[in-house]
């Protein structure tokens, strides 16, 4: 039965809300996007071909709503790329070698990932990133959206996405090394 929107809410509401929350990080916006999704789904439900599950179909609609929302946000807040200036040079000497060599992180990734304190430090480091890098890192590495979706959401090319993600990862690695692994900045 795919034509009862109340059933959609009961069966898929939490899932869709979670999907939206993890990408827009606001209860209010996530709930609004969910409502818009249900309305749009109701308007077009007669065309639902039944080739996918209801959940997949609803998620597809929500995904587009989220992309529109993020694009609008980027436009309105005028978040810039600045792909032309290269902040990665700060991490390297002129001859291309590391200016501060990355240390070995001798911790078990599995247990580290489950360490709540580590996650807090990671989140803090993410919050210090420049706005657009933060947005992209969250969508790609935290929400796990694929490259194509992130590019669409942010209106950027794959090449720019790679550039910005690499910058984010350089900065995050350094931040974690200082604040989690305790390697002094001037060592």
């Amino acid at each position: 039965m795919h034509s009862d929107p109340h059933q959609w809410i009961n069966e898929h509401g939490d899932y869709l809300y979670r999907y939206a929350m993890s990408r827009v990080h606001s209860e209010e916006i996530a709930a609004d996007l969910l409502q818009e999704t249900l309305l749009a789904a109701w308007k077009s439900h007669t065309t639902f071909a039944g080739q996918s599950t209801i959940r997949t179909w609803l998620t597809g609609i929500l995904k587009h709503k989220i992309i529109d929302h993020i694009r609008k946000e980027i436009r309105e807040r005028n978040l810039s790329d600045n792909v032309s200036s290269d902040p990665t040079t700060a991490y390297f000497n002129n001859d291309g070698s590391w200016s501060e060599a990355p240390h070995a992180w001798n911790e078990n990734p599995e247990s580290l990932c489950r360490n709540e304190q580590f996650n807090n430090v990671l989140e803090k480091c993410v919050s210090k990133l420049p706005e657009k890098q933060r947005l992209i890192f969250r969508l790609r590495d935290i929400s796990g959206d694929d490259t194509e979706t992130v590019c669409k959401s942010c209106g950027i090319t794959a090449t720019n996405l790679h550039v910005l993600l690499h910058r984010a990862r350089l900065a995050l690695r350094k931040c974690l090394e200082i604040h989690w692994f305790g390697v002094g900045e001037n060592r």
Partner: protein, 81 residues
Amino acid sequence: MNHACKEISRLASESIERELSLWERFRFHLHMAVCKHCRNFEQAIELMHQAAALMHQSRYGEIKLTDSQRNRLHKAMDELN
């Protein structure tokens, strides 16, 4: 001596995003075999990538609509009919 760490670290990051070309893979592995720093970098970004995905699970895996949000949605759907 010219070091390739700047470029190789970029390839380490991009290898998470796309398949490297044959030439890139060749350069990458050749450098990795001799450079501990870049190996450390690669290990670190892999770990961050994993940790970020698991953080997503633990932060958002459990959240649910509140009752008032749920009621509001049901009400909005009622108004359609």
